[in-house]
Amino acid sequence: MTELGQNLIDALALGSLYALIAVGIALVYTVMGMMNFAHGEFITLSAYALYVLAGLPFAAAVALALLAGSAIALATERVAFRPVRNADISAQLVTSLAVATILQNVVVVAVDARAQSVQAPAAFSESTSIGGLAVPNLEFVTLGLTVTVLAALGWLLYRTRTGLAMRAAAENFEMARLLGVQADRVIAVAFAISGALAAAVAVLIVMQTGQVSPTMGLTPVLVGFVAVVIGGFGRMFGAVIGGLLLGALSSLLGAYLPDGLVPFRDAIVFTFPVLILIFRPRGLLGGATGEARV
């Protein structure tokens, strides 16, 4: 029973981490229609900001890492993504792949190809026991952060003028533009938030693993992509559901797979979306077919 409870909390924590990644990707996708490969490198670079700023008080380092995430996202939007804003989705995807490749190797050149260790505050590695369960503090932080971020995002999207503009742009970009929504501003806001979300994810991952590496963004970005696909494109809520499902699946497989199969966990986790797509080609919250509308 305790073991089950423990595993469920682990599943929820990993699921909410994945949901945070997915929401960051979905935000840019809904506003601009681009699946951003470089989101993984937003995570990587924010994590390296944390690594570089390790001497500062932890709170200050985290705040600066969040800023760094936003700044990098804004910079790439301005330099690389704005010129291809009106290109088709495939061209945008490949552009973001180029940006991801460049950023990843900038880290290799500037720091090193090997992983570097980062000291996490001791409080994160401790556990709090609740009703016989020893819950790692980091999982509390992850869950709390996810709930807070989702609530804040909901408030922004549904209670502010900027949010209204973003939702309008997501519905029909050209129409929103004609009605006076400033495209540049809406997209910039989306990228800034997306970058900050990536940085938040980076902090959680670094606290978990205690290290940073140039390729640390690869798995998260794929997880985020797949979560967005399962959830149904362009739906924030779908991305959250997709992230939770994928994280929970991964966590539970880690706990319950027979020993011989544990190394193949990733293969199983990433095959699972295919099973969903067989039955719902447009994702859980999407339509029933994969075909374009007339």
């Binding site: 699946m35 690389a80 010129p83 291809v84 290109a87 088709d88 989705i89 495939s90 061209a91 995807l93 490949v94 552009t95 792949l97 180029a98 940006v99 991801a100 490749t101 460049i102 990843q104 190797n105 900038v106 880290v107 290799v108 050149v109 190809a113 140039p214 390729t215 690869l218 798995t219 794929l222 992509f225 797949v226 967005v228 696909v229 494109f233 190394p263 193949f264 990733d266 293969a267 990433f270 095959t271 979306p273 295919v274 797509l277 067989i278 080609p281 447009r282 994702g283 994969g290 075909e291 374009a292 007339v294």
Partner: protein, 613 residues
């Protein structure tokens, strides 16, 4: 009709020989180099084969796959395990079944088996993946790449795990790789110019229009995905036999970025682009790696060892291409299509269509029974009624006008008749057969053609190809499809423009092209959604004349949605008026004009005044 030339394979010989010549040059340069330079050239040619594999799928479908290197991995491991001497096999992969461990095949047979297995896996993987959308395919294929990596890296007893395999016989030399690369070029071009290749390119240009002329998007993508997987498997197998070592990261994310960059920089839509891109990036890569190892630049500036620089360079090249030159160095064209090549001399004189060819494509005899019937069609979008109990009957060879104010549900009705939308209730019957809920491409095969309010051209295909691809969608061979398409274009007065890219036609021409494209599938019923929209008065009259000719020559029934009253009343002896999702009146043009309810709801009092005058 002076110099109308017909080539669906634009200067075929040039397009085929140019990439082969580039490969031949690479081979000639390679064989005369040092052993290490030979290895570099061989590797470039192996990469070229993988890039051609990418081109077959990505270039023709316009959909990116980031998983094709997974097939290269499979090909490489299969080929390696089939050729490793038994003693090494036992050492590295004790879990391998005996018959594979003891097999010690030659380079050719192992490569062929590797290709077959990669292709087979591609088909199995593609079956579910190709059903998803243009944006889900890149992501789910990327997931496939990770799955392959994960399995290969952890299945120690069969694959040697993360340490990989060593002592693989190194049998791939420059000449071998060159021969395979040449074969891959021929295969990629043959596919591009095959009916299946054209059908896939049509889905790239406009998915909706492609479905309306009977093209099954999923099926065409799957065929290309399988061929692509096979070619990538060949590339992987040859590469394993070039380097002699193999590990799970050989064909992983880095190799994916490299090969995609090669394809995009060269120009994804063309086989020439794949060859140019692969060779050019291989050269650039070598130069950048030289820098990375700490070379002396111009003997003056000394650059220290800096891993990652080469990859940054690659990323910058990819980014620059996407921003400044999205069609790549070749512009996505084949050698024979390049403007400066075409200026060099006249093309082969075309076979001019014989008159009467189109009649042979027209439906045999005029079916006088049957018809296209809709009964009790209702549809609501989230509670909002769009159509309510609408009936419609279009007899064979008959012209029926469908009019009504904006939002009356005319286009929705056509979408239901042609399978693009499913009704909440009601049934559609085609010559007595219930076809409700059939897919658009199935209905096209059943004899239903349609056009759209927007012209939806295939911009990058020529006018002739745009029309011929419809007949190819019906399973007609390329040669005959081209002849029939030329005949249809002749009837519609578009023959002069046959060779122009469809995207360059003026709006009026694009509308006609849409009609020609629909006619080329030999429909028994043709649904025209506002063909006169945006045409001037002269063009309208021309359109009416052409539609008359269509009625007379092709013998298909026509349903004409139109706002321009003159056009409808000119052409249709019977008119159905739709208002607010229900049928208001069916009758002759005179009866419609005289009906007060129709006049009030739609024609307006001003029209009444004109009619009286």
């Amino acid at each position: 009709m002076s110099a109308a030339r017909f080539r669906t394979r634009p200067s075929f010989v040039t397009s085929l020989l140019a990439p082969l010549a580039l490969i031949a040059i690479a081979v000639l340069v390679g064989v005369n180099g040092t052993p290490s330079f030979q290895g570099t050239v061989t590797l470039a040619l192996c990469n070229l084969i993988v890039v051609l594999g990418l081109q077959v799928f990505i270039g023709n479908s316009g959909v990116y796959s980031f998983g094709q290197l997974g097939f290269a991995t499979i090909g490489a491991y299969v080929a390696a395990l089939l050729t490793l001497p038994a003693a090494f096999v036992l050492l590295q992969t004790p879990g391998l079944p005996d018959f594979i461990a003891e097999a010690q095949l030659g380079p050719l047979s192992s490569t062929l088996i590797a290709a077959a297995i990669s292709g087979l896996v591609a088909i199995v993987v593609g079956l579910p993946l190709m059903r998803t959308s243009t944006l889900a395919i890149p992501i789910s294929t990327f997931a496939f790449l990770i799955v392959v990596y994960n399995v290969v890296a952890n299945w120690d007893r069969v694959t040697g795990g993360s340490s990989g395999l060593v002592s693989i016989p190194t049998t791939t030399g420059v000449e071998t790789a060159g021969l395979w690369a040449g074969a891959a070029v021929v295969l990629a071009l043959a596919f591009k110019w095959s009916p299946s290749g054209y059908r896939l390119q049509a889905t790239r240009e406009d998915e909706v229009a492609a479905r309306s002329i009977g093209i099954g998007v999923t099926k065409e993508r799957l065929i290309a995905f399988g061929i692509s997987g096979t070619l990538c498997g060949v590339g992987g197998a040859l590469m394993a036999h070039q380097s002699g070592v193999l590990n799970p990261t050989t064909f992983y994310f880095g190799a994916t970025v490299t090969t995609v960059t090669m394809l995009v920089v060269g120009g994804a839509r063309g086989v020439l682009g794949a060859v140019v891109g692969a060779l050019a990036i291989s050269v650039v890569n070598e130069l950048l790696r030289g820098l990375e190892d700490g070379a002396d630049l111009f003997g003056a500036i000394s650059i220290g060892e800096a891993p990652g620089l080469a990859t940054i360079g690659l990323g910058l090249i990819l980014l620059g291409t996407m921003v400044a030159m999205p069609n790549g160095l070749s512009g996505g064209r084949e050698a024979g299509e390049l403007p400066w090549v075409r200026r060099l001399g006249p093309m082969r004189p075309p076979p001019l269509p014989k008159s009467g060819d189109a009649a042979s494509r027209a439906p045999s005899g005029r079916v006088r029974e049957g018809g296209l019937d809709a009964a009790g069609i209702s549809l609501a979008f989230s509670g909002l009624r769009v159509l309510e109990q609408v009936d419609l009957a279009l007899g064979p060879g008959e012209a029926l006008g469908l009019i009504g104010p904006n939002g009356a549900g005319k286009t929705t009705l056509v979408n239901i008749l042609s399978g693009f939308q499913k009704p909440d209730s009601g049934a559609v019957r085609l010559d007595g057969v219930d076809v409700t809920g059939r897919s658009p491409s199935r209905l096209a095969h059943d004899g239903l053609g349609r056009t759209f309010q927007a012209a939806l051209p295939f911009p990058d295909l020529t006018v002739l190809e745009s029309v011929a691809v419809g007949a190819m969608g019906m399973g007609i061979g390329r040669r005959r499809a081209v002849r029939d398409a030329a005949a249809v274009l002749g009837r519609l007065g578009l023959l002069e423009q046959a060779e122009l890219p469809a995207g360059t036609l003026p709006p009026g021409g694009q509308r006609l092209l849409g009609i020609a494209r629909a006619l080329a599938i030999g429909p028994r019923y043709l649904l025209l959604d506002e063909p006169a929209a945006g045409l001037n008065e002269g063009e309208c009259e021309e359109l009416v004349a052409i539609l008359r000719k269509v009625l007379a020559d092709f013998g298909c029934g026509i349903l004409l949605i139109e706002h321009d009253m003159g056009t409808v009343m000119d052409l249709c002896p019977k008119i159905q008026v739709l208002d607010d999702g229900a049928t208001l009146r069916i009758g002759t043009p005179e009866e419609i004009q005289a009906d007060p309810a129709v006049v009030e709801s739609y024609l307006g009092s001003s029209f009444l005044g004109v009619a009286d005058a």
